[in-house]
């Protein structure tokens, strides 16, 4: 009775059903980092072991991430990077992979780490399901938060890159961050972003700027459009 079924398109998964017909959503690399997370903070962080910390999210929104970073003051390379994550399999695997990427080969410089994109983390993971892209963005944000924290602690205020929100639609009170979130949640067209944020509905004058931002964030998080 068994039929030769093909693997589900788009999955190069690992948890394979007995008949070989179905595979899990996650790649082998994701699974490896999820079941064997690297560099997570085992004990409570001790003062002095780390010279920068970062935090993003809250459990209310489904993900919370904290990172502790040790930067060599001479070379400004990342020597150690530890983390704790409340989140789904993708969030845990992305954070684990990011911790490997910023510390491998003697560690990244802070400037190189700041240039790390969610796409780079996803590439190393062999991809994530579309609806999980936002998970890899979180650790990227926490990393940048920690980099700013390091510069703050060392008095290099000119190197802090503020991530303050820019008001795009004063009528609907929608910021660029709101649009970024909407794109990350899968709203890739103006119409879908409007459904999520109500941007421009009472203020159509801002729509060209909104479309530009959608293109920008699509390119940033999902690669070339």
């Amino acid at each position: 009775m068994s039929l030769p079924l093909r693997p589900i398109a788009g999955t190069t998964g690992d948890v394979t059903a007995k008949n070989g017909a179905q595979s899990w959503f996650y790649t082998d690399v994701v699974k490896d980092h999820f079941f064997h997370p690297r560099n997570f903070m085992v004990e409570d962080a001790r003062e002095g072991d780390y010279n920068a910390i970062g935090k993003v999210g809250s459990p209310a929104c489904g993900d919370e991430l904290r990172v502790w970073m040790k930067v060599d003051p001479e070379s400004e390379h990342i020597q150690d990077f530890r983390w704790k994550t409340f989140g789904c399999g993708s969030a845990i695997a992305s954070t684990s992979m990011a911790s490997v990427m910023v510390t491998e080969g003697g560690g990244m410089t802070l400037e190189a780490a700041r240039a790390l994109k969610p796409q780079d983390i996803m590439d190393r993971l062999g991809g994530l399901p579309a609806r999980k892209f936002h998970c890899s963005v979180l650790c990227d944000k926490a990393l940048r938060d920690a980099i700013n924290d390091y510069y703050r602690r060392t008095g290099q205020f000119d190197k802090i890159v503020a991530e303050s929100a820019r008001l795009i639609d004063p009528v609907a009170k929608v910021t660029d961050h709101d649009i970024e979130e909407a794109v990350l949640e899968g709203a890739h067209t103006l119409e879908l972003v409007q459904q999520k944020t109500k941007v421009g509905i009472g203020n159509p004058g801002c729509l060209p700027a909104v479309e530009e931002l959608i293109r920008f964030y699509k390119e940033k998080y999902f690669g070339a459009v």
């Binding site: 996650y26 929104c61 489904g62 409340f86 789904c88 936002h134």
Partner: protein
């Protein structure tokens, strides 16, 4: 071989061999179209008629009150959309609960947003119960439909359907509002609860095959005689033109057989599953700190355990359990495309942290005490491992 423990029976059930056997002739040599006038068509039509008669007797209903559909979702949609659209001249107010299945909830929301209806979404109490008094208090002269599920698919809470139905019936008579109807989605209840539509005082009832060891893609809507529905589909005279399309003959036969077996065995199944359910609840509570049982402690389906594990996210735990061969579900964040946590857990008045960590274990005919022991043995270290990765430490006052 790795041990496999399937605890996702509220998602779907494996088909019983008896059901498959009943279906097989209609998947093979009795392939006629029930609408055809030749013998092969007649044989198929006889099978559909027999199934309908059997189901009518199980529901204490008449044959012409059973409409076959493609499943629970279609039946719910047909009940809500079909009745509201056809009878909107009688009023445009609808009542449901905040913890309804999305097949009812989203149909209601659609009517509210696009078709000018008003909908009251009743909040359940902290255990997931909705009371007859709450329903009565929400009734208005322009209310035409109340839809409340018999038992909740996520937390297993059993609603007082007969009492609510009785109250609605009385209100209808006292206030002279014959258009006011009561619908209930009983998909999760059919395996364990009685389905006598007269004792339940329901005017419409949704049932499906996939939750009762029958075939997927099969369902029915009980519609009391005289009730007018606007069809969702057009194109034939089948199912009194309310649900046209060539009958799923094998599916209908399988659905009838599955429902008959479910109702025959329901008391025995309940007796067998209750101690297993309690063993799992006690086993988890005694071996893992910071958990919360969601749903009612006793007014609960005998196969449902919904537990929140604080400080971790449900999907991560599901994947760890999957690796151990334990198959469970969550209504929380990452399993749904929307990333929203379970609307049911939130409706209980519990915070997001509790909703994100909720896991549903649903037992079934194959579940044994050994399965429960295996889960209770495997679960604590997996929860501990994920908690070690987590920066969150929810205080007890938020989930007690």
């Amino acid at each position: 071989m790795k041990r496999e423990v399937y605890l996702d029976h509220a998602a779907t059930t494996p088909m019983l061999p008896d059901v498959l056997e009943a279906m097989l002739p209609y998947l093979t040599h009795v392939y006629g179209n029930p609408s055809s006038f030749h013998s092969l068509g007649k044989n198929a039509k006889d099978a559909v008629d027999e199934a309908r008669t059997l189901i009518a007797s199980l529901l204490h209903a008449r044959e012409d009150e059973i409409l076959f559909t493609s499943g629970g979702t279609e039946s719910d949609n047909l009940a809500v959309l079909g009745y509201a659209r056809k009878n909107q001249a009688q009023g445009k107010h609808l009542i449901t609960t905040q913890i309804e299945h999305h097949a009812v909830l989203e149909a209601m929301m659609h009517l509210e947003k696009k078709e000018g209806f008003e909908v009251t979404y009743l909040p359940p109490d902290r255990d997931g119960l909705v009371s007859a008094q709450q329903v009565e208090d929400a009734l208005r002269p322009d209310t035409i439909l109340v839809s409340i599920m018999s038992a909740n698919n996520e937390i297993g809470t059993i609603e007082p359907i007969a009492e609510i139905g009785n109250r609605i019936q009385k209100w209808r008579e006292v206030h002279g509002r014959p258009a006011l109807l009561f619908h209930s989605d009983a998909c999760q209840a059919a395996e364990y609860l009685p389905l006598d539509t007269q004792k339940l005082h329901v005017d419409m009832l949704t049932l499906n095959g996939s939750k009762i060891y029958g075939p997927k893609g099969t369902g029915l809507l009980f519609v009391k005689r005289g009730i007018k529905l606007q069809p969702l589909l057009f194109g034939g005279a089948q199912e009194r033109s309310i649900r046209p399309g060539t009958e799923n003959v094998a599916g209908v036969v399988g659905l009838a057989r599955a429902l008959a077996i479910a109702q025959r065995d329901r008391e025995g199944q309940e007796k067998r599953l209750l101690p297993l359910r309690e063993a799992l609840i006690r086993g988890i509570q005694s071996s893992i700190p910071k958990t919360r049982l969601n749903g009612h402690p006793t007014a609960r389906l005998p196969n449902n355990v919904n537990m929140s594990f604080m400080d971790i996210e449900g999907e991560a735990l599901i994947l760890y359990l999957d690796e151990a061969g334990i198959y469970v579900s969550t209504g929380s964040a990452c399993t749904s495309a929307s990333l929203d946590p379970s609307h049911v857990i939130l409706a209980l008045g519990l915070p997001y942290e509790v909703a994100h960590g909720s896991i549903r274990f649903t037992l079934g005919r194959s579940t044994t005490q050994e399965d429960m022991d295996y889960v209770i043995q495997k679960l604590p270290p997996l929860v501990a491992k994920l908690r070690a990765l987590s920066p969150v430490n929810v205080e007890p006052k938020y989930f007690a």
